[in-house]
């Protein structure tokens, strides 16, 4: 494996620290992997003999499966461990669990964890590459990259495009990673939703912040809905799901404020009838399932790039 140009990272922790050319390197590589997904024989040999461990301490369907599929497409052996079935539920620390995973021969760890900063922490105490699959409300880099990929597939260059992210921005790692990724690619990002979930302070990072839904949606090229995490916020951050839907849910009438060719995105899981009308989620404007498929290609690129750098660094040390 040779070291890829424009990519020197063994770990993928967040988008904030990436520059535009690094983001484009991943997206371009994902583009070529995307083509292989439609072939009758989908497997590539790039990670043959390597073991990828998905350490998922929080529930996940899409991200975990997509990382599994991506690693398998690259011929890696894949093991997925969940929080409830692991020793973390017996009081073992994250560091100890992850150290054991490394000792068992993992060549790369994909981590999903409820604590912001946990992938950075592991990257400092382990030797293997750490890929962040979502850490608390901090970052979800592979999601933002697949969103950027999907937007680029539709629009080509993102310069000057208005992308609106609606809903629970405060607790959303997807919103943060997308803000970094999309603004680095030249798009303007608007955060919309109730004041309790969309603090004005986000404007310090270049986001347009508004609580006026019409302003948020007007002339947007794409709208990305975020799942309302009602299990945690009802009663403190908004009065009820019903009130949320009536004030901020995306319905046909509100979708008409978007640009005519605007697309509707959602990282999933969807609460049908809460943040988005069921019919809109299934409409032709929706690219929600394209996002999921693109997520495989993007994660193949991430696994390939980080693994290459790791191999390259190891070879340099041993030579």
């Amino acid at each position: 494996m040779k070291k890829p140009a424009n990519w020197n990272r063994k770990h993928l922790i967040g988008i904030e620290e990436l520059d535009r050319s690094e983001i484009e390197t991943i997206l371009d590589m994902a583009r070529s992997f995307r083509g292989t997904l439609d072939r009758p024989v989908k497997k590539l040999p790039s990670l043959r003999g390597k073991t990828v461990v998905n350490l998922f301490m929080e529930p996940s369907t899409r991200t975990r499966l997509a990382f599994e599929v991506a690693a398998k497409r690259l011929s890696a052996d894949v093991i997925s461990v969940g929080g409830k079935s692991s020793s973390l539920s017996k009081g073992e620390t994250l560091r100890d669990t992850a150290s054991n995973v490394q000792a068992l021969g993992a060549d790369l760890i994909v981590l999903r964890h409820s604590s912001a900063g946990s992938p950075l922490y592991l990257s400092r105490v382990l030797d293997v590459p750490i890929i962040n699959a979502g850490d608390g409300a901090h970052e979800h880099p592979s999601q933002a990259l697949l969103d950027a990929f999907t937007l680029r597939e539709r629009f080509g260059n993102l310069a000057g495009k208005k992308i609106t992210i609606l809903g629970d921005v405060l607790f959303s790692r997807v919103a943060r990673s997308n803000l970094w990724a999309l603004s680095k690619l030249g798009a303007s990002v608007t955060f919309g939703g109730p004041a309790t979930l969309v603090p004005k302070t986000f404007s310090e990072f270049g986001a347009e912040v508004t609580h006026d839904l019409k302003k948020a949606l007007a002339d947007a090229d794409a709208v990305m809905l975020l799942r309302i995490q009602h299990e945690r916020q009802t009663s403190t951050h908004f009065p009820s799901l019903g009130e949320y839907t009536s004030m901020f849910g995306l319905n046909e009438a509100r979708a008409s404020w978007l640009k005519p060719d605007a697309i509707i995105m959602h990282p999933g899981p969807i609460n049908r009838g809460v943040e988005i009308d069921s019919s809109l989620a299934d409409s032709t404007r929706s690219v929600i399932l394209d996002q999921v498929t693109n997520g495989i290609a993007v994660r193949m690129a991430i696994l390939y790039l980080c693994s290459s750098v790791s191999d390259f660094q190891r070879k340099e040390v041993s030579s």
Binding site: L94, S115, A116, Y121, G136, E139, R173, F205
Partner: protein, 429 residues
């Protein structure tokens, strides 16, 4: 009776007496005296303090010494050694031991440990409420009789304003000050860092300034009503300084302290989720830091207190939101205060010494913190230019959860005299 000591040629800084001059200082029978106890050759201990500063021993109003139920994080022995290494000759020990210091038996136990193991003066506090739960008053009168000098639920603070009000009234009857770490438990319920841009960037739950300021207001309002003396601990926000300033203008009996780390650091240092920067209250923004520094120098904030909270390495070695709050501070207080106050030219060495000596003494009405003739000989000698590295092997504390772990520091204590005894002498090391 202790041996006589003659400290030669030091720069004596004694803010209570307005003194800053190079001179000798004499100690005999545990007290500071006018003249040497004999000829130089007859005095048992002659300490050459040339080029160094001789000051009253420092006084810390907030240290968590972990003697009981502390799981090896610290003990009275290690905590007082750490205090001495940092130049402190008096520390006020917080009641968050386990079981809590809410009864005379626990106080007695701690007093025995102090008698046996402490190398400096340790003053005990009792808890304000039973088991520090904030729901029922602790037996404050009995605690007073057992010898506590203040009551507090630190590092917690009851969210029940009625309990707080009654505890103020009740404690004031015994002349006991109430130490309060102002933190609204609801506004700060999940919070781990200051609520601001940095919290949003890091994706960590924010602790708004208002969570502190509301409770500073509460303390001011209830101190006014009850005439009880409330001392607010570890103030962190510019707004709190403003509230205190107005309260002091109206002679409300409130006082306050600030930690060295809040004078030195802001939440910008948190970029890499270092759990040794996770403190309660959190590190805030530069405007807060500046206001705290100005407040300390103009007297709105009465003194510096370390909030020394030891945790073992494995306890801090984890995810940021799950790690405990608190950092050690006894051994770095001098270096950090020198840098924040003196090197930055915000104030003089004398200002810094006052904030660590005569000013904390006057908060609690202690007859300490001066070098007056006849005073108990609690003295620190330090070299304000000596460099050292914060590393476990250089720390007396059993824990090393310092924001400055691995960093080079400037300013180090060389000698400590506690009640006339030379307990620390780096020339012998």
């Amino acid at each position: 009776m202790s041996e006589a000591i003659w400290i030669k040629n030091g720069r004596i800084i004694d803010p209570a007496n307005g003194r800053d001059e190079v001179a000798d200082l004499y100690i005999a029978d545990g007290r500071i005296c006018e003249a040497p106890a004999g000829k130089e050759s007859e005095v048992a201990n002659v300490v050459d303090a040339s080029g160094k500063i001789v000051a009253p021993g420092f006084i810390d109003l907030r240290a968590h010494l972990r003697e009981l139920g502390g799981g090896g994080r610290e003990t009275i022995a290690s905590g007082t050694r750490a205090a001495a290494a940092g130049g402190f000759t008096t520390v006020v020990c917080m009641p968050d031991v386990s079981p809590a210091a809410d009864n005379p038996g626990t106080i007695r136990y701690l007093q025995d440990a102090i008698e046996k193991d402490a190398c400096i003066d340790v003053l005990l506090t009792g808890s304000l409420t039973l088991d520090r739960q904030g729901e029922q008053l602790a037996p404050i009168g009995s605690l007073k009789q057992s010898g506590v000098i203040a009551v507090t639920d630190c590092p917690a603070s009851t969210g029940n304003n009625e309990i707080f009000r009654r505890s103020l009234e009740y404690a004031a009857m015994f002349g006991l000050p109430i130490l309060d770490l102002p933190r609204d438990p609801f506004l700060a319920s999940n919070a781990v860092v200051h609520e601001g841009a940095q919290a949003l960037r890091l994706g960590l739950p924010g602790w708004p300034r208002a969570a502190e300021e509301l409770f500073v207001y509460r303390a001011v309002s209830l101190a006014m009503v009850t005439k009880a003396h409330v001392h607010l601990q570890s103030i962190s926000s510019a707004g709190s300084v403003e509230i205190l300033q107005r309260a002091k203008e109206r002679d409300v009996p409130v006082t306050a302290d600030v930690t060295p780390h809040h004078l030195a650091l802001t939440d910008s240092a948190l970029a890499d989720y270092n759990t040794n920067l996770k403190t309660s209250p959190p590190l805030r923004e530069e405007s807060d830091r500046q206001a705290l520094l100005a407040g300390l120098l103009d007297g709105t904030i009465d003194c510096i207190a370390t909030a020394h909270e030891p945790y073992l390495e494995h306890e801090k070695d984890m995810e940021f939101d799950l790690a405990p709050f608190g950092v050690i501070g006894l051994e770095t207080a001098l270096s950090v205060s020198l840098e924040s106050i003196v090197t930055s030219e915000a104030g003089s060495v004398s200002d810094m010494v006052a904030a660590l000596t005569t000013r904390p003494a006057s908060v609690l009405g202690l007859e300490k913190g001066t070098l007056s003739v006849g005073a108990i000989a609690d003295i620190v000698i330090f070299d304000q230019h000596q460099e050292w590295v914060v590393a476990p092997e250089n720390l007396e504390s059993l824990s090393s959860n310092s924001p400055w772990l691995g960093k080079n520091m400037i300013g180090r204590v060389t000698h400590v005299i506690a009640t006339g005894q030379l307990i620390r002498d780096s020339s012998l090391a």
